[in-house]
Symmetry: C2
Subunit: 309 residues, 2 copies
């Protein structure tokens, strides 16, 4: 079923030990949409400026992504510039220009309101809450956030968390959000804030999901689940790895008739799979040209990497 | 079959956010021996001072560990004092007194020379090489080391590495030993130094093994293997987690008729299982009083934590 994603569509300038790119298509919604598009139909709500032309749009439409919700306005698109020269695991932000994103007011185009799955990518929690409120009939809502919103917009974020089915964040964000250094205790605190499930991404060490009492009401099982990441000899560009994880994770869930514990676990693996592809090349290069067989082969590799038999 | 371990038997003073212990039995060989003792007979070669009495010895003998190789000499036992107040993942060493360990010259007692498995715990590589040379008939040799030996005793360590079946170290040590920041590239460099297999421990994120061309000559498969760690709401005392991992890992291998890829993978899980028990209480407290059922239950939990089906 269709996933609707709201988030940034942007241009990035990136430097990593493997090279540099002065300008490539980026943004959380872009990475999420491309990764999810291999599993299920995807619709995007975002805002772009005049620098976002047919060439950029075709990156999405060639993957069958519905871009009617991308609003074009005068001005420049969101621009982010970052460096991984010091640390491949964490971007050092060199420059952020919000540009047209500054006055973004998400609108749901006609034909989007039957989306059953909603992903609130990392944007102002006020906008996340706004979109959530405009989609009262969605079946499942997942979201992301970051240190800036956790630190300075805690009340707005709390309102978003109360209505989330799953929150996907990294270790540092989870510990900051909970004000707690132990990951298990941090997870329980976050689950008490509203999300039915929490997926904590550990970068090269994979990801762990924690479940609240209401995640799977029919299932007694509450054990966390840990998915591996693929050990890679070269991480060309880590940008978008987390959003690609989210796209693989939620895209797979949306493609399945019902969310069961087994579907959730497989979704964690598909998240890792899509994240591992994303970092193999700069920007969205690798995510634009996958096929389902490559994805299934890598899924099998993740299984081999982590399973006893 | 019997494992022979050579390493430190010591007293530790430890402070962690959960409390303090002024003096508890410690040392790499102690943790290793206790963890391995649940799987296979264990023999220890170490040196202790007059402060190591019957009470300390009984911690080992009650687990059926053969302590005939523990040499008693005048003076005080090796003493280490460390704090985890700043970082539960890495001890801050407050004090190290080598004491009787300073002039340790390992001797193989009669009756130890039919040991088929040898573990060279983290000690001076000259001593590791010496013991290795005195046990020419062992079937499999695993070893550990640390930053101090990597940095300042590289040539001696290189001689040990050339004859190891498996090296077990943590991420930081692996990257330092290889002079390489990417773990996969570091692993390949280390495998080219001699070990047939490399097990890299990631603390709370589990462990990954990498295999050289000669690890399993009969098997084409060379995929790394990643074992999870158990997400714990309280890590009481991380001391000895790595040595307990090594004890579970190698103890299980020694208990099996043949080292196959499947046995190696299960050994990685048992390593994680024993590490997870070790950190639940101070010092060796938890490792002294396990039973096989608790171990198997936790093994099942590790499987549940990481397996799709």
């Amino acid at each position: 079923m269709s996933i609707l994603v709201v988030g940034s569509v942007a241009f990035d300038a990136i430097e990593t030990p493997s090279g540099t790119r002065d300008r490539c298509l980026g943004g959380a919604a872009t990475y999420f949409a491309l990764a999810a598009s291999y599993f299920t139909p995807v619709r995007v709500i975002a805002v772009v400026g005049e620098d976002f032309g047919p060439a950029e749009e075709s990156v999405l439409t060639l993957r069958g992504i519905d871009t009617r919700g991308i609003e074009h306005v005068p001005g420049k698109s969101f621009f982010w510039s970052g460096s991984y020269m010091k640390n491949l695991n964490e971007a050092q932000t060199l420059n952020t220009e919000l540009n047209v994103f500054q006055s973004f007011s998400p609108k749901i185009p006609p034909g989007y309101d039957d989306s059953e799955y909603l992903f609130l990518a990392n944007i102002d929690p006020l906008l996340q809450a706004d979109v959530r409120a405009k989609m009262p009939k969605v079946k499942m809502v997942c979201g992301d956030t970051m240190n800036y919103w956790i630190r300075d917009h805690a009340d707005n974020l709390a309102r978003v968390l109360r209505n989330l089915d799953a929150l996907l964040i990294n270790d540092g964000e989870a510990k900051m959000l909970a004000g707690e250094n132990n990951l298990v205790r941090a997870a329980h605190k976050i689950l008490s804030m509203g999300p039915k499930a929490l997926v904590v991404k550990h970068g090269e060490y994979g990801a762990t999901s924690f479940f609240g009492d209401t995640t799977f009401p029919d299932h007694a099982q509450r054990t966390p689940f840990r998915a591996p990441a693929l050990p890679l000899a070269e991480v060309v560009d880590p940008t978008g790895a987390g959003d690609s994880f989210a796209g693989g994770f939620f895209g797979y869930i949306a493609s399945q008739p019902r969310l069961t514990p087994a579907v959730f676990r497989r979704a964690m693996f598909y998240g890792g799979v899509m994240g591992s592809f994303a970092v193999e090349r700069f920007g969205t290069e690798r995510l634009q040209q996958l096929d389902r067989k490559e994805i299934e082969d890598r899924f099998a590799l993740f299984r081999q990497l982590s399973h006893l038999d």
